[in-house]
């Protein structure tokens, strides 16, 4: 059963159209990646899903159309970790995580989740009371992920998590994500410019070009595909 279904989705930034009819599906429990060059529309696609860009077309989540307001979409169980992390630099690490759970009504369980999530990220657990803006890039990325997870999402959207991070840090990050997917069945949609690592961790992938889906298939297939290899994998 597809958890997320997009059909004929268009999106614009003012007068500029960024998506010209995107179609994609993500099944429950899957890890799917969105690849493409700069400006292909990957981030815009995520933003169309999470509701922070003007869009039109069919977007369905768990069989029902997505609401318009971004906060309503988030409360449905879609967590978007934005490009550049966007953590609250002036708050502490702990406060950042708490913000992620603020909409939840079940206060006690939410608090417990916050503590639990921090256990999964030992590196930032030690820096609990530190101002988030002073963390390194990799730590901030972990924090952004932790913050998204305390909302107990059904679908996780990751926007270029490897941006500006060292390869070992990126591997560690994806290790966490993969483990979460394996242990809890969390559905993940990943936007990445680093095509090789994306194709390694995900089962299926879409390649976007100029606001349209150019290629789709299983990650293994695409790894062997000629155009993917020359344009995005470099060999």
């Amino acid at each position: 059963m597809p958890l997320l279904e997009l059909e004929d989705v268009e999106a614009r930034y003012g007068p500029i159209k960024a998506l010209h009819g995107i179609a994609l599906t993500v099944d429950e429990g899957q890890m799917v990646s969105l690849l493409g060059a700069n400006g292909a529309g990957k981030t815009t696609t995520l933003r169309a899903i999470s509701g922070i860009v003007r869009k039109s077309g069919k977007l369905q989540f768990a069989g029902k159309p997505l609401p318009r307001a971004a906060d309503a979409i988030a409360r449905l169980g879609i967590a978007h970790v934005p490009e550049g992390r966007e953590i609250y630099g002036e708050m502490t690490v702990w406060e950042n995580i708490l913000v992620g759970s603020s909409f939840r009504r079940d206060r006690r369980e939410a608090r417990r989740d916050c503590e639990e999530v921090l256990e999964h990220f030992p590196r930032i657990k030690d820096r609990r009371r530190q101002q988030a803006g002073t963390l390194s890039g990799g730590e901030q990325q972990m924090l952004a992920l932790a913050r998204a997870l305390v909302a107990r999402p059904k679908l996780l959207l990751l926007d270029e998590p490897s941006l500006g991070l060292a390869p070992t840090v990126v591997s560690a990050f994806y290790e966490v994500v993969t483990r979460l997917n394996a242990e809890t069945g969390l559905t993940v949609l990943i936007v990445e410019q680093n095509a090789s690592i994306a194709l390694d961790v995900t089962e299926r992938a879409y390649v976007l070009e100029v606001g349209r889906v150019a290629l789709e298939g299983s990650s293994d297939e695409l790894k062997e595909h000629e155009r993917v290899r020359s344009s995005y994998l470099g060999y």
Binding site: S50, G51, I52, A69, A70, D71, A74, R75, A79, H80, P82, E86, Y88, G89, E90, M91, E95, L98, V99, G100, S102, F103, R107, Q131, G133, T134, R147, A148, A151
Partner: protein, 296 residues
């Protein structure tokens, strides 16, 4: 010695008035990132509405008080939705100018609706005095201290119990990202503005019996509240309240015991501001402000 305690009480009463307005300023600063220049005038306008209900139409004081708080809350939220929110794309300066426009507008509107004549605003507290040994203090002062502190406490409790403090702060820091966390950003900010308006109304209604009601009466109060909020560290509600009491008592003691100011009472405000400036030089983020570390 008796005079000392009397001055302290008087200073605390003034501080109480400043504290409600200062807390309003901090709320707006935390919610929208700017100083609302119209905060005092919003309080003034609310006080005129109170006057109209209580003095003109004979409504019972505390009923009128409560009603004015509700009206002010709605008015504040309304101003946020109608004026501030649409202008946020213009940047912070556009919003600051908008608050200046509101200041001018409200001031003129009040003068136009209720005429600029000075009016008496009856105090809900008895006119009698309390004598404790040598010390003589007024019910007005004591009542003001109690009411101001109670209102500030209610606001603190509201944020604690409803846990809206943190999402409100998040909404101000990064509105778009906060939406991605399921926070109803617009609602948060509207509530912030509504509460600030209600607090300003309290400041106005406590100050009016002492200062007399006319369109400009809240302007000096705004200056002191602003100074107190900055002194306490503009982003900290606790600091603003403490700063207000320090300022109130400080000015009260200064004007009694320092000759220079008793000789020239019109220098009271600049001397207070000068002292404030000196404090800011040593603590640029206010006495209790958190210095934000900027990562290179």
């Amino acid at each position: 010695m008796a005079q000392f305690w009397q001055q302290i009480v008087g200073g605390l009463a003034a501080g109480g008035i400043y504290s409600t307005l200062a807390l309003a300023l901090v709320l707006i600063h935390r919610a929208t990132g700017i100083v609302n220049f119209a905060q005092g005038e919003m309080g003034m306008f609310s006080t005129f509405i109170a006057w109209s209900l209580i003095e003109n139409h004979g409504m019972e004081y505390w009923l009128g008080f409560a009603l004015v708080l509700l009206i002010s809350f709605a008015g504040g939220a309304g101003i946020y939705g109608a004026v501030i929110r649409p202008l946020q794309r213009g940047g912070e300066l556009a919003i600051v100018i908008a608050t200046i426009a509101l200041l001018i507008l409200l001031n003129g509107l009040a003068g136009w609706i209720w005429t600029p004549e000075v009016k008496a605003f009856e105090s809900p507290f008895p006119h009698s005095l309390i004598t404790i040994g040598d010390v003589v203090i007024s019910w007005q002062d004591v009542g003001t201290i109690i009411v101001s502190f109670a209102c500030v406490l209610v606001v603190f409790l509201f944020f604690r119990l409803t846990r809206t403090g943190r999402p409100m702060r998040a909404s101000a820091l990064r509105p778009r990202t906060s939406r991605l966390m399921g926070i109803r950003v617009t609602l948060m900010l509207a509530v912030g503005w509504g509460l600030a308006a209600a607090l300003s109304a309290v400041a106005g209604m406590m100050a009016a019996p002492v200062l007399a009601l006319e369109p400009n009466f809240m302007l000096p109060v705004l200056v002191y509240a602003f100074a107190a909020a900055v002194l306490g560290g503009i982003d900290g509600p606790v600091g603003a309240v403490i700063g207000s009491y320090i300022l109130g008592v400080g000015i009260s003691l200064l004007s009694t015991y320092v000759n220079y100011i008793t000789v020239a009472p019109e220098l009271q405000l600049p001397v207070a501001l000068a002292i404030l400036l000196v404090i800011l030089l040593f603590r640029p983020s206010g006495l209790f402000g958190r210095t934000v570390v900027r990562r290179v």
